[in-house]
Each structure stands twice: as C-alpha cells, then as structure tokens.
C-alpha cells in the first residue's frame, strides 16, 4: 500500500452557475496523509467543492493541484481518486468481491493480483467470508465498509468521502467513526471528508474547514476552531454557544463592563475598543450552576442570578437552561453526578463562569 497519500492544493477554485456563485474563490493546502474535513450547513458549497476535486463539477476558475500537477482538465476516470458516496453507490448487480475488485479489474491487473488485493481489503473491513454475497444482503454498516474498501483498494492518491455516515443510525455512526479513523491509519491516505455533523468532524479530523455561502470561513485544528472561533457563525456552528449582543461597553478597573441588554451586565477582559462589533460567547461547559449566594466572593468570575427554565438529562451530562431575564437564557452543561440532587424547573439559582471563559467574538463580516 501507499506510504502516504498525495498533497492537494486548491488555488482560487471558483464555481459560478449562470446567476449563483456556488463557490467563492477557495484556496487551501491539504498535506499528504491528512484527514481534512469540510463542514457547513447544507448549501454551503462543501459537496460542490468535493465534486470539483473528483472531477464531476468543472470549476469556473482556479487550479486544483495534486502533488503539484494541475488536474482540472483531467477527467474523473484518470484522476486516480477514490470516493465514498453518500448513498454508497455500490453496484447492486455485483457481489461484494466484484464491487471491491471493480477498480482493480479496470486497471488490468492479473487475476491473482486482483484476488489477492481484494481479499486483503476484505480482511481489513472484516468481511472476508462474505465476498460472494450480494450488496442487498448486507446491513447498512457492512455496506458502508464495502464502500470504503472499494474506494481504497486501488491506493488512490486522495480519498473523498461525501457524508458517508449520514444514512446510519447514531450508535453505528459512532462505531464507524472509529472504523474510518482506524482505516485511515492503516491505509495512510489523504482523506477529504464532507459532513454536516460538527461532532463527527471534530472527532475524526486533523483539520476542519468550516464553509458558508461557498466560502471557507475558517480552517484549523478542531480545538483551535472551538477555542478561537473567528466569528459568531463558527462559534455557534461548532459546538453549543451562549451568545449575547453587546449594547454598550465601559472601562471598569482592569476589565470592562459590558451591557448585554435587559439590565444585565458582564465583566470581560480586554479594553473597550475591542468590544465594538463583537458578541459575547460563553460555552455551556464553562458555566456552573449553584444555589443563590453559593458563588459570593469568587474573584475573576461573572455571577448572575436566574431561574431554572428546564433540565434535561442526557447520557452523562445534565443540560439545563437558566433564565437570566425575559429574553436572556443561558444553557449550561454539567457533568452528571450519581445520586446528587439537582435543581428543578423554577428554582432560584446563581450561574457563574470565569472572566477568561467570556469570549469576545467578532460578528460576521
């Protein structure tokens, strides 16, 4: 198998349809062997970009370089790229073995080589005994694995995946995330992965690019994006965020005092100038909830009184919403503690988060 995949460079890749611009000029470099995810809401252009790399959608302008060579004018069947489709696109008239062997046979390998490589790939996806089965006889997860094997068996330079887990139920999806990760390590290919599920992308990727309206808004390591979102869109798309509009900012000792409307005010680090055209963003896991007065005297904290609006127990965490004022509601996510009583709807509480967790994030430009 290949030592590692190929590097990919997008240089001003643009797609315009008669009246709509599907892709603004996009330039980005993806390193050999990298697991790179494109995420964004539907219609953000991520699938169009993937189609352009695959060769199904000719870009209106720009260059796509694989290992330094421009492939824009090369048809899909000579690009040597692998692709896993959203609906798998497995051939229903062929067996599992024939599906995986399809690309190898096209490459005119000897019969022995085809059998050996296909068999080895079936071992990797743990379907060695099922080569003679029809696709319709496989479960969703098995079909998914066949799609992976079929796309990777010929050591393509780059492996594209278009929402490959979208059709699976939640448990299977998480299991397949590990599978794909392990698969990536085994075949060491460059993977470009499209999803609208930010958790999935964060769990699997070396880097993520967030797209909106045909543009990459921000790209970087998952943690970077989460901790330093470039604007409000990124902050709210990646994970949950409590976001408040700043109405006014006043200097206050070493910090500043922010008026967020409805008579609520917060402290935040920084100077007043940095607050203009910014929002306050607080992640739910930064917020603590306690009885009234529990946080009195804590330094470097924002403490606000409120009323519990609702409490939801999800696996391992408590998600509760606290009403600070008529419109202002914060969501807090707390670790679940066995046998510990928690507040109920209507309880008076104080919420608290550190000044350092009070992020100022620019609005979208």
């Amino acid at each position: 198998m290949a030592e590692h995949g190929s590097g990919l460079v997008l240089d001003g890749v643009t797609k315009r349809y008669s009246s709509v611009t599907a892709l603004q000029p996009i330039s980005i470099e993806i390193a050999p062997g990298e697991f790179f995810s494109l995420i964004g809401p539907s219609g953000s252009g991520k699938s169009t970009l993937l189609g352009a790399i695959a060769g199904f959608i000719p870009p209106s302008a720009g260059r796509i370089l694989i290992d330094g060579r421009d492939i824009v004018d090369i048809p899909p069947y000579r690009r040597n790229i692998g692709m896993v489709f959203q609906n798998y696109a497995l051939f229903p008239h062929l067996t599992v073995f024939e599906n995986v062997a399809f690309a190898l046979r096209l490459r005119k390998l000897s019969k022995a080589e085809v059998t050996e490589k296909t068999q080895r790939m079936l071992d990797v996806i743990r379907l060695s005994g099922m080569g003679e089965r029809r696709i319709s006889e496989l479960s969703g997860g098995q079909q998914q694995r066949v799609a992976l094997a079929r796309a990777a068996v010929y050591d393509p330079r780059i492996l594209l995946m278009d929402e490959p887990l979208g059709a699976l139920d939640k448990n299977l999806r998480e299991e397949m995330q590990y599978e794909i990760k392990a698969f990536h390590n085994k075949i060491a290919a460059t993977i470009i992965y499209v999803t609208h599920d930010q958790e999935e992308a964060a769990a699997m990727s070396d880097r993520i690019a967030i797209m909106k309206d045909g543009e990459i808004v921000q790209h970087g390591k998952p943690r970077e994006l989460y901790e330093h979102p470039r604007n409000i869109f990124v902050a709210s798309f990646l994970g949950d965020a409590n976001i408040f509009k700043i109405h006014d900012a006043k200097p206050d000792a070493r910090h500043m005092k922010l008026d967020i409307g409805e008579g609520l005010s917060l402290s935040a680090p920084g100077d007043v100038a940095s607050a203009s055209r910014h929002y306050v963003c607080v992640r739910p896991e930064s917020i603590a909830v306690g009885a009234p007065g529990a946080f009195n005297g804590a330094a470097g904290q924002n403490v606000l009184p409120g009323i519990i609006a609702d409490v939801v127990y999800t696996a391992g965490t408590i998600r509760c919403r606290v009403k600070l004022a008529d419109e202002a509601v914060v969501t807090a996510r707390l670790p679940f503690q066995r046998n510990a009583a928690f507040f109920a709807t209507g309880d008076q509480v104080d919420v608290r988060w550190a000044l350092t967790d009070t992020l100022l994030i620019p609005e979208e430009t």
């Binding site: 609906n87 051939f91 399809f102 006889e137």
Partner: protein
Amino acid sequence: MLKGANTGTPATMRKVSWSVARLYRWMLLAPALFLAAFFVFPIIRVVLRSFSDPAWGLQNYERIMAGGPYLQVLLATIQTAATVTALCLLLAYPVAYVMSRLSGSLLQIAAACVIIPLWTSAVIRSYAWMVVFQRKGILNEALIGAGVLDDAIRFLPGSFAVHVGMVHIMLPFMILPLLANMRAIDRSLLRAAEIMGANPLVAFAKVYFPLSMPGVSAGVALVFMMSLGFFITPALLGGPQHLMAAVLIEQQANVILDWGLASSLATVLLVVTGAMYVVYMRLTGNATGNLKGAL
C-alpha cells in the same frame, strides 16, 4: 399490563387487515367469472376442436408437421417476431436512455410522442403505412423524385412493409418498460464507476447496461409475445407474400372454413407464446432467485 397492551395491539391489527384482505379477494370474483366464460371456455373449446374436428385424433397436427406451408408460416412468424423485437430494442434503447435523462416539460413532450400513437387504432396506422408504401405512394414518389429509383418498387404487399409497420406499432411497448427501468437506475453508480477509472463507455458497459437488463427483458418479452399473434398489420401490409400465423388462422377459419386446422394452428401459437413466457419467467425469476441462492 404494559406487556399485555403491547401484544394486544398488533394481534388485533393483524386480524383486521387479514379480514380486509379476505374481503378484497371477493372483488376478483366478477372478473374471474367473466374471464372464465368469455376467455378460458372458448380457448378450451378451440383446443378440443383441434383434436376433434373433423374426427378425434392428431390429424390436424400431422398436417402442420408434414412440412407444408403451415409449418413454414409458423416458423416465419417466429422469425418475424424476433426481427421486429430486435429492431424495436435497437431503436427504443437510445430513445428510452435520452428520455430517462429528461425532466419537466421536455419529458412530458417526449412521453406524449411515445404514448399518443397508442391512442390511434392499429388499423388506421396500418392504412397510413399503405399510403406511404403504395406504388404511387409517398415513398416511391420521393425516391423517384430524388433520382434514386427509375421505376417504383412494389412494397405492397410484402415483408419489408410488414416489418416497418410492426416495428412502428410495437415501439412504445419497448420504450415504456425500458424507460421505467432506466429512470430507476441510480446515476451516482455511473459516477462511482468513473471515479474508479472507468471511462464513460466502460461505465456504460459494466454498470448501466447490466442494470438496464430487467427493462430489456420485460420489453423483449412483451413485444415478442405481442408480435407472435399480431394480426392487423400483417393482414393489411403482408398479404400472401408475408403470411403470418394469425392471418393464416383467420383464412382457415373464415375463408377455407377448416375449423379443425385453424384450431390446431391457434393451439400451436398459444403453446409457443406460453413457452416464451415460461422461459422469460425462468430468466427473470433466476435473477432474483440468485439473490436468495447466494445466501
């Protein structure tokens, strides 16, 4: 209690749906009686007559098998049906392929072009072909006018005219099953083949064509079986030069009044058509049978 409620609901539902299904079955009674009285019974009469007219025995079948004109007509009928089916497939496949990729009003216009001819009776359309093929018809006039011919060709009655007329009338019955099948073929399968290295031609041969086979076999079976018993077009355009089984049977029954021979010819045609149907069911049945067999 919860358990009881759980098992209770599906059981009653099953009971209800079963009794509804039983009720629906009685709705088949009227058409079944109609078919029995006006279709099955006459066919049994015909088959019996082939063995009993003018006397009990196999003499009618012996006359057919003796190698005279009767067997020849039967063989020619099968050959014509096969040729018409092949020509229909060749013409219909690209049409259905293009139609399967259309959408909106373009598709509706194309579908109308295929279906509207079905609203016109085959008699009228066959007469229209007579106008085209006449000695002083449009085709001859055009060919002479263009200088291709010095003298008019005698198309009527003849084999060429029968083939053209039959292909024209059978074409929708080939296009429609193909179209239904092709519209259901997932286009992303072709993309998958392409990204794996198949150029468009190879992708067609290895993916699209095999997947269109159910449509092909349905269309072929439909057109071939309809062509075997086709009467009006061969009767009008073929004449004695291109006699087909249905026309021969009509002559035996209505002109020569040899009802025994007519019945035995009809029986042979029925058996051949039935055999074709069995073969078709076997072939397509195997295609799905393989799915289960592979387990």
